[in-house]
Amino acid sequence: MDEEIVDYALEYAQSKKIDYAEVRANSQVQDRIILRNDILEAYVSAVDSGFCVRIMADGGIGFASTNRWSKEETKATVDLAFRYAKAANRKDKLIFAEEKGIKTKWVVEQKKKIENIAPEEKISAFAEVHKTLASCGINVPAVMSQVFIDLITKYFINSEGSRISSFVPKIGAYVYVTVAEQGKTEQGYEQFGYSGGWEALDIWKIQERMMHNAKVLRDVITKAKPVKPGEMDLVCGPEVTGIAAHESCGHPMEADRILGREMSQAGRSFIYKGGNYWVGTRIGSEAVTVVDDPTIEHSYGYYAYDDEGVKARPRFLYKDGIINEFLQNRESAAKLGTRSNGSSRSVNYDREAIVRMANTFVAPGKFTDEELIEDVKQGVFMKSFTEWNIDDKRFNQRYVGKEAYLIKDGELQHPVARPVIETTTLKFWSAVDAVSKDVEFDAATCGKGDPAQGVPVYTGGPRIRLRKVFVK
């Protein structure tokens, strides 16, 4: 990364009649490993380095990026961004919410430096997963692993005096497993994610978790019974709690979505001006508080400053069941008359930073995990999920259980085959009557933007108990 070129780009942009300019450079040392069973299909190793210029002029925004680091190319990139900003010709002129310039550097520390890990060690860490599964006594015809390792260096400067440098190593992986027993198949996957060094592998315990997955999938085939559809209590494990927090709290609380800026792709929100829901409206029971917090150290969604140079902080989205605070970047905050809360993220230099979640989770309650089960006469414990989705206003959602058990008279019984909850955001969160103490997190990739920008996040929470919901 050539910081002199970045500085030159801003200097050149400021020589024009602009309202605002920023230059964001990004260099990513990338490893991508694809394994089919224990066979390496491909190892892709590359360095992607470039910068973007975002200019606001006459109330319009222009954005241009390049990966060619020359002064000539820099001038052309700035010229293009400036020309596009002017061409917007908007009736409603855009402004950004106020921020002060910040000069700082931040890094995520590594206990075991990824730079010191040999490629063969990286490969073997995941090839071993298949070897373990192949010898566990369960018929596992296919395991597919995708590994993403990124060393991300950023340099952000803007016309308000900000100058922020950062370095973040991130490791992520998907492992898909197919189990075949009695002529039937079941499939499932686990995602892993961490900001930091190779110590992630010690924390993840991939082999243990994938072995558990294989056993769960085998039991779905050999032991599980369907649930008799009807109204009953549902206890959600942290994985299910987390996906619900992400889908039906985090997403609808994105201010750009609320304002319609994502209307054609990710959609709008059930929260909108003049509608039934806004800040101060009840959306869940008093037991429900959902937080989005980018500052959880070593989390997959960790950052100290967002991609507009705004300091990160926790956001209380739903607080005691009440809609509390939207996720904001500087553009949305200005439109809604507030300040950014540091939610602007971009996956690379060639993508616009937009409003995103970081680590979204249900805040802990006062119960033990056991107490939540003990008080259920008839219900289902949905520990993890497989198929899921939600509509684009983020109101109608569906979660299908992967590992799930019948609860009868406060005791866990046999596994339940693919139980389904299909309900609204209001009904889901209003039905929560108890929340346990212990929060757990899962890694996920949050999708949004056009072109798509999959950003690393955590989803999570403790166990939660929903009373009298329809399970089928």
Binding site: A42, Y43, R68, Y84, A87, E262, E387, R398
Partner: protein
């Protein structure tokens, strides 16, 4: 142009000299433009100018790849890559990159898309058309995207060629009410015959019809799929036809080659033809691309292959090599015998769905999945649209749906939208019987 091809060839020679058995290098100079708009105004205009050389090499059946962004870095980058291959694990299934010397069709890329710098007026053509067709004020949003790429490919195994690839796409969603919207797309490889107003009119028409929606009822319906939503389904079937999807057991087509998977009226092809947004004259191994019939009158005829997967399946490459795995370029369903209106007449009581998103599978081999229709959802009675609906979900099986196709229209549309209707496809109106719809309780 020859200079870039020469530099790409030097990369291949360098890798060979360092011990690589086989090498493919592909240099792409890409120029991409996008206008994003919402609430009838431009939010941001974006330009990406990218240069990248993708290099894949094999050493003793170890396959590694890299991307380079500067010809000055070649020696060090290739040395690193060959070193990486030497510590990587063997892939016994790797059968080598495609071999041979080929003649390629002339590229039909549109040069006008290389120089189009301010496409904003095309956006307003669509926005105006949406409002006109809706007959009242609508809030429209979407994107206009243009692409122009010069591609230079050299393989140590013989193929060498130059291609230019262009595309233009407009996607617009119009809201007539908070919960009433329509979506239209216009996709092409050239500006000739590109009519943003068609997408706008379609979005406006559906938005008008979608007003005052009622929550739909759960049940089993005969469903007419609009070309846009059916494009999402075609993309799923196309992806599942990749031989790699078969090898990793992520496809309903596992163990079904040569078997009947659909009624006789269904013929499904992959074809990166000149009209397609993904038109190209060679694949990522330098094999000429062309039409491949995946399902022929209901019978699964082939998977999509690169040279290596073709060896595993004891057949020939279909010219679908991506950098790592075979991929569909542009999925076509051959037209049926009915007009669109005749297709509606076939439905006594059913649904007309126009778009969908968030498709997720429980099991890719079985095909159990759900997806959430959006924009216009309509109840059809006796062939006519009776009522606008909302809040319904398809919860069904993608193999059963393929088997339950009973009608295909003559009319087809080239569609592509975001990650949901991807890859691009040539998609008709299709009638599928007995589709399971669910809703929130």
């Amino acid at each position: 142009m020859n200079d870039i091809l020469g530099k790409t060839e030097e990369i291949v020679k360098k890798a060979k000299s360092l011990g690589a058995d086989e090498v493919v290098a592909k240099t792409t100079f890409g120029k991409y433009r996008q206008v994003r708009f919402s609430n009838n105004q431009v939010d941001i205009t974006v330009a990406w100018d990218d240069y990248v050389t993708d290099v894949a090499l094999a050493w003793k059946k170890r396959v590694v790849a890299t991307q380079m962004h500067d010809f000055r870095d070649v020696d060090a980058a290739i040395k690193r890559l060959v070193g990486l291959a030497k510590v990587s694990g063997e892939n016994p299934a790797f059968g080598g990159f495609a071999k041979g010397s080929f003649h390629y069709a002339n590229s039909q890329a549109d040069k006008k898309l290389e120089t189009l710098e301010s496409p904003t007026e095309l956006v307003f053509e669509a926005v105006d058309a949406a409002e006109k067709e809706a007959g009242s004020k609508v809030d429209s949003g979407g994107i206009l995207f243009t692409k122009y790429e010069d591609v230079y490919l050299v393989s140590s195994e013989g193929p060498s060629g130059v291609d230019s690839r262009s595309a233009v796409e407009l996607s617009i969603r119009a809201f007539s009410e908070q919960e009433a919207s329509g979506h239209g797309v216009e996709c092409s490889s050239t500006l000739k015959d590109f009519r943003p107003s068609r997408a706008g009119s379609k979005a406006g028409e559906i938005a008008r019809l979608a007003k005052n929606p009622k929550v739909g009822d759960e049940g089993v319906y005969d469903v007419i799929f609009d070309p846009l939503i059916f494009g999402s389904v075609l993309g799923i079937w196309g992806g599942m036809a990749s031989a790699f999807s078969i090898m990793i057991q992520m496809s309903i087509f596992v163990d079904r080659l040569g078997k009947k998977v659909a009624p006789g009226i269904v013929t499904l092809k992959d074809n990166p033809a000149a009209y397609s947004m993904s038109q190209r004259v060679f694949d990522d191994e330098g094999v000429p691309t062309g039409e491949n019939v995946i399902i022929d009158h209901g019978v699964l005829k082939t998977y999509l292959h690169n040279a290596s997967t073709a060896k595993v399946f004891k057949t020939k490459t279909t010219g679908n090599a991506g950098l790592i795995a075979p991929t569909p370029w542009n999925v076509e369903m051959t037209p049926g015998s009915l007009n669109k209106d005749d297709l509606f007449e076939e439905v006594d009581r059913g649904l007309y769905l126009t778009n969908t998103w968030y498709t997720r599978f429980q099991n890719y081999i079985r095909g159990d999945f759900s997806t959430i229709p959006r924009d216009g959802i309509f109840l059809i009675e006796k062939g006519k649209i009776k009522q606008s609906l909302k809040d319904l979900r398809i919860s069904d099986n993608i193999l059963s749906m393929l088997g339950n196709i009973t009608g295909i229209s003559k009319e087809r549309q080239h569609v592509h939208w975001w990650g949901e209707a991807d890859p691009p496809s040539l998609s008709p109106y299709v009638l599928i019987k007995n589709v399971h719809m669910t809703k929130s309780k």
